[in-house]
Each structure stands twice: as C-alpha cells, then as structure tokens.
C-alpha cells in the first residue's frame, strides 16, 4: 500500500484535515454521496485516493455508501464515509449491520441544523443521540467530537484506530463550523503516527470460527479471499457466524457487543478538564461549543465563582464514572450544546443530586455569553 507522503504545517479547512487524517491512517476506500456541509471530505478523497492506489466511489445514495464501506472493510480495506444529518439517517440500518457483523469503518457526521433538511449550510450538534441510538436495537457505539481542524485530524486517526481495535463503525461527530473553519493543522509524517491495525486471525481455516472469543472481547478477523470461507450475517449468530434464533444466543451476542465497549470504556474515553477539582460549577461542553464557553467562564471566575471546564472528546461511551465523581463535589453542571438537550440528559442521569442546567440552542447560531453566565450563576446559587 502506498503511504500518504503529505506532512508538515498547513493552513487548511477542517474537512480537508479529516480527509488527510483518514489517508494517513491508511483508509483506502471511500464511498459517499454529496451533502452540505460534508462534501469537501468526499471531494478531497476523490482527488487523493487515486494518488495512493485507493478507491473512491460516489454512490447513488447514502444507503449504498454505507453498505459499500462495510463490503470494502470485509475485503480488508480501511474504509470511510462522510455525510450530514439527512444522509446519516439513511445510513442507520447499515450502521446496525456494521455493528452486528463487527465491521471496522469510520463515519464522519458533519452536523448541520436539524431536523429534516433543516439548515444545510449552518451548524448544530443535534445528531448526538442519533449516533448513540439511531440504528434500531441495543448496542454500544464510539463517537468522537473535534473542536478544531487540528483535533479533527487527530480524532479521525484515532477513530480508525478504535474501529480497527474494537471492530465497529466509529463516528466522528464534527459540525459545519469545525468542518469549514480554516486553521493551522500539523500533519506528522505517517511513520510518526500511532496506527493500530486490525487483528487478523493466525488460525488455520479449518480451526477458525469468525466470532469465537470471550464475553467482552473482540474476535479475530479474516478477510474475503484468504481461504477462510466464513459466513457472516446481520441475523443473531453464534461463534460460527451461523444464524441461531435462540434466546441464549441472542443474549450472549448482544451482551458481548455492548461489553466489548462498555467494559473497556476507560481505555476509550478521552476528556479534557480545567479547574474541576475545586469547582462549584462545571461547564460541560463538546466540539465547537467548547470554544464559546471560555468568555463566560472567565467572567464568572472574576466574580469569584469557582468554575471548572469539562470537555467531552469522546461523547460515546459517555464518561459516567467521571461525572459521578465530580457530582459528589460540585453544586452542579452547566451543559452547553447546540441542540435542545441531548448530552445534557446523560449528565443529568449521572449527576444525581447535583444540579444540571442546560443552555440549549437549536443550531444556526451560538448561545449568548450572558445566557451561559446566567446559567453558571443559577447553579452557583443553588443549594
């Protein structure tokens, strides 16, 4: 495989940084469909993949795009697709297939104002719960939220690593601001990046069972064409990959799909904290909103309120443990997000007796500093 030889410091758009990160991580198959504000990723991949002996296909819709990256992954390629709200809605069924078949791949959602067609050219964070629960059924997902083009690059590489390691589709949840923002991005030489490769089975075909592993583990992979002649299905299946329609098999499988993420959440979760140890109020944010809470925090600190800052880099799995720990020490949390209260529900669930105050905004704009300061004041005054 030809490695990406692009490295150095660049002044580039977030979506371009994302595409370059995918290439640096070894992505060589992209299936996508145009949609604002995510099209730049597909355009960049269309330009770059042929240079690196990769495959770019613009499909007839997002359903096909999602199905194709699963197929490509089973052929051994690292694969990706990118879209925004309406397109992700179309992908959901096949995202479920990816989770069930345990297929590594990356889905970038450049979020825009929703619901429905919403605000195509404007931003939002209203697909957070869609990423978590959008496809039908119970499962665990991983979703990462970048706040800048540089982090967009870093987290896209990370997303590939996590998807290969845990064998599931991983979401990169950016938004129209981070996607279209132009900033300095440092792209390290490929050899200096930490890249995790898929674990292929070392067993002989006659000994190999495609889903044989412990209750919280990830099975070893075998790709098409290597003589393993395995079967895989979206139906409930046993370790042979064969459909088995029993309660016992279903309970075992669904639990493992959840356990392989849930019981390894500590290794997956990334959060950034400032001044949280002695805080009265902690402002929780993620992605682009984490950049607008600073003025409010500064103002309230001057007023003498101890305000902490907590940024979710991994939104799913949610850092339950950390929020619970902090909840026992603080007055409460202020959650700032560009939706009408999604991640806030998770904070509320873990905060128990601590106050949780939401600063919502449906997207297309940003909450005013005064709204955030007011919320901080309210939480500080509580109790």
């Amino acid at each position: 495989m030809r490695k990406s030889d692009l490295h150095g410091e660049f002044f580039i758009q977030g979506n371009i940084a994302c595409a370059e990160a995918a290439l640096a991580a070894g992505c060589r198959f992209f299936g996508g469909y145009p949609i604002t504000p995510a099209s730049e990723i597909a355009e960049r991949m269309a330009y770059r993949l042929p240079q690196l002996d990769g495959v770019f296909v613009q499909f007839e819709d997002e359903i096909a795009s999602m199905a194709s990256i699963l197929g490509a992954s089973w052929a051994g390629a690292k694969s990706m697709t990118s879209s925004s709200g309406p397109g992700i809605s179309l992908m959901l069924e096949n995202i479920g297939l990816g989770i069930m078949m345990e297929t590594p791949c990356v889905i970038v959602n450049v979020q825009r104002g929703s619901p429905s067609t919403g605000l195509p050219t404007s931003w939002g964070q209203s697909d957070m719960m869609q990423a978590r629960w959008g496809s039908h059924g119970d499962f665990a997902v991983i979703a990462l939220c970048p706040k800048s083009p540089q982090e967009y690059f870093d987290l896209t590489v990370k997303a590939f690593n996590l998807s290969e390691q845990y064998r599931l589709p991983v979401f990169v949840m950016s938004d129209a601001v981070v996607g279209h923002m132009t900033e300095k991005v440092y792209i390290p030489p490929v050899d200096e990046l930490e890249i995790i490769e898929r674990k292929y089975t070392s067993k002989k075909p006659q000994d190999y069972l495609p889903y044989e592993c412990e209750f919280d583990a990830v099975p070893d992979f075998a790709k098409a064409g290597d003589g393993y002649r395995y079967h895989t299905t979206g139906l409930t299946h046993d370790e042979r990959g064969y459909p088995v329609m029993t309660e016992e098999c279903h309970v075992k499988l669904v639990n493992r799909l959840i356990n392989k993420i849930k019981l390894h959440a500590d290794d997956i979760i990334m959060i950034e904290e400032k001044d949280t140890e002695d805080a009265e109020v902690i402002v929780v944010s993620y992605g682009i909103t984490s950049r607008i809470v600073f003025p409010a925090i500064k103002i309230m600190k001057k007023k003498g309120i101890k305000v902490g800052y907590l940024r979710l880099i991994t939104v799913w799995p949610f850092p339950e443990e950390r929020i619970r720990q902090l909840a026992s020490k603080v007055n409460g949390f202020v959650v700032v997000e560009l939706n009408m209260g999604q991640v806030c529900l998770e904070v509320e669930r873990c905060a128990k007796n601590a106050v949780t105050k939401l600063v919502p905004h449906p997207g297309g704009g940003m909450p005013q500093v005064e709204t955030i300061t007011q919320a901080i004041q309210e939480v500080a005054d509580a109790r």
Binding site: A72, W74, R229
Partner: protein, 295 residues
C-alpha cells in the same frame, strides 16, 4: 433391514458437499422451491469456470433467496434488505481478485434495492447478480412484489394486483449490463453455463431465474402444487437468444422467453478508473512532497 437403510443414508453424499455448509442442512426452503436446484446449478457453473473457490464471495440480501449466502461454503455475507449490491461493490473494488456474486430475490433486488441495481449496471462494476424471481414475497408470507403479474393475487393484493410489474431483464439491459440472461429453475444445464460465463466475464452480469413458489404464489393463484408450477413454466418456456430483452415481459400465462440476450464487452468501472486517472494522477503527485509547494 433398518440398519441397512441407515447404512445406505450414511454413505450418501451431496455431489456439491465440498462447497456447501453441510452442518447447516436441512435448509429452510419449502419442498418444491426452485432455490435448491438453482444453488446446485450455481455451484456447478462456478466449478466449470475453474476458478479458485477461495476467491469467490457470495453476497445476499434478505428473503428466501437471501439465505443462499448461509448455505454456500464460501466467503459469504448475508446483509441488509436491498443492499447486497453496494456491499458487493465495496467488496469487489477493495479486493479486485475476488469473483463476487450477488444472489438475491426479485423483491430485494428490484423493489427496495432497485436503485442500486440500475446504478451498478450503469457503472458496469465487475460483479455478477443472480436474481431469483418467484413473483412474490415468499418469506414474509406472500405479499405483492414488483414482479407480481397484473391481476395475480397476493396477500396485499386481495382483489388482484393492479400494478404493472417490472420486466427484470429489460431493466438490467436498459441500465447497461454487459450480460443479461433469463432461465427457469428447470434449465439446470443452461443455468450452470450462464453462471460459468458470468464468472469468466468482466463487467456487470445479470441473470434472472424463474423459480416456483408453491407455498404462497401458487396457493394464492390456484397454481396447484410446486410440480404443477414447474410443469407450467416448462411448457411456457421458449428459448430465443435473439429476443429483445425489452419486449419479453412476463405475465400469468404467456410465454417465458429464455436465453442469453446480451453478452457484450463494455469497459468496467475499474478499467475506466484506471484509464481515466493514471496519467493525470501522476502529474498531481509532483505537488505532494512538502508543505512549501501547492497543497
């Protein structure tokens, strides 16, 4: 005597045992369904093409035919309803050494998955699609399909079907398929030959197989037993390789025109990618060595 009998059964082997998941038998298909013979013909055809079975993958959607992927001892993928073709497209393009077959039903490939079929044919992706047409949704209990003949009964057409059906070979041909054929489940030798040709041929190949469904289609339409259906299909079948695929739609009682209607060479998707990009890509590579040059 019983001992002798069991002895005999033990010594019986399916001729295609090597290529079937015998630990999954018996299969779920009804007696007199065409899928068993079609599967045998498929195996035979691939074997005749003399390719490495390790490099053959089967992708299916959902439905009775969708279960084929579960019974073949190949790399096999049982995917979502209607999405076998884009899954197969990804599989093929990411490993172009593979021979990829999509085996699915008429509802899967032409109703929910219709868009993918016409676009895969348009692109001329190098995959082979076998569409088993039984004129109805079997697994869900006999609902209307995009192939259900006009006035035929189904569980969602209790007064007879009032929708015009698709002529599958016509659609595939119009969308640009390189190979278009139609046989019935009774044309075992011809079927295997077509599978062999498709395995060897580059580009998007499409094969429609008319298959009897006694359990729901015949029952709803006074078609008798599975055997009666098969006999009917046999009597109605006419082989005409020169037929225009646009002019041979199927109905309840008319001729079933079979044959290989299209067998042409057209550049495949990947051939076009290579010829279209190779020279131009080499030029762009000059710009990519360090950050000081154009991004």
């Amino acid at each position: 005597m019983p001992d002798d009998k069991s002895q005999q059964t033990e010594n019986l082997h399916h001729p295609m045992e090597e290529y079937l998941r015998m630990d999954r038998m018996p299969h779920i298909w009804c007696s007199s369904c065409g899928l068993g013979s079609i599967l045998t013909a498929f195996m035979k055809g691939v074997k005749q093409a003399d390719v490495d079975f390790n490099k053959v993958a089967v992708v299916s959607g959902i439905g009775c035919t969708g279960r084929v992927a579960g019974y073949v001892k190949l790399d096999s993928y049982h995917t979502t309803h209607g999405r076998a073709i884009p899954f197969a497209t990804g599989l093929k393009l990411a490993n172009r050494d593979l021979t990829v077959f999509v085996i699915s039903g008429d509802g899967d490939l032409f109703a929910i998955g219709g868009n993918h079929l016409i676009h895969a044919a348009r692109r001329n992706v190098d995959i082979n699609v076998i569409c088993v047409n039984n004129f109805i949704y079997g697994m869900t209990g006999g609902q209307n399909a995009p192939t259900t003949p006009l006035e035929a009964y189904s569980s969602t057409a209790p007064y007879g079907n009032y929708e015009q059906p698709f002529n599958l070979v016509g659609v595939a041909a119009a969308a640009g398929a390189s190979y278009v054929a139609r046989w019935s489940a009774l044309h075992m030798r011809r079927l295997a030959e077509s599978v062999e040709e498709m395995t060897k041929k580059k580009g998007f190949c499409f094969l429609e197989v008319i298959s009897p469904c006694a359990t729901v289609f015949a029952r709803k339409n006074k078609g008798g037993t599975g055997l009666d259906l098969l006999k009917g299909y046999k009597d109605r079948s006419v082989i005409n390789h020169n037929a225009n695929p646009q002019e041979i739609p199927l109905d309840m009682n008319g001729e079933i025109v079979c044959g290989v209607f299209i067998n042409k060479d057209r550049p495949t998707f990947w051939e076009n990618v290579l010829s279209g990009t190779e020279r131009k890509v080499k030029k762009t590579n000059l710009y990519y060595h360090d950050s000081k040059t154009k991004f």
